[in-house]
Amino acid sequence: MPNPTKLIVDCSTGVTTEVELTDEEVAQREADAAAFAEIKAAEEAAEAAKAAAKASAEAKLAALGLTADEISALY
């Protein structure tokens, strides 16, 4: 399968050419996408942990007798 292509726009001449990405560019592209997925996964895991901690805290406050309105007034 041929590599994907890119448009090269030479701003000094206005000439646009379409060429295939090199193998190195394809590899970098894949590495960048993987790195971004890793960042997003870590971010989502942190958000999930924060949400779980919040739910746990709310449950403990409710067990102490606070109403939902009283708990939400704390935020």
Binding site: P4, C11, E18, I39, E43
Partner: protein, 178 residues
Amino acid sequence: MANTYTLISSSTVGSGGVSSIDFTSIPATYTDLLVKYSLRTDNANIFSLTFLYFNGSQTSYTAAKQLEGTGAAAASSSFATTYLYADDGVGNSSTANTFGNGELYIPNYAGSNNKSTSTDSVGENNATTAYSQLIAGLWGNSAAINRITFSTSGTSLTGSATKFVQYSTVYIYGIKNS
């Protein structure tokens, strides 16, 4: 205060689509650069990540900060990566024939200090989920920016590399402060 806007160059993607758009030989004769883009890709999602590179570099994008709204929630995050994150864009699951629009501003792009950037962008989707973003970026490099590359990421619906689809556009303007 900027008082001149000059179109340096533009590009409109043709019928076959392309995986990246690479502006080269950007002149150093302006004070700032403004890049306006309207992009859609053929990936399977509502959103589609677009990466930016300056001068072909894959290092020193050290301090990107993002604020994002999804239509249901707000989030913030930080990135130190091998690219500058441009936006969430629009993928093939967004409303047909719509594009994600954004603006990238690069002050003092030809100076010898590190290059700061600001980006604001929105995706278009006639549904609850639609992304909008503000991103502050930093490229820790003293070279004048003479090349800007927009790149898609990931794979398309057909399993090949994601492409910007036909009629996606990028315009680069030079701005002088006098």
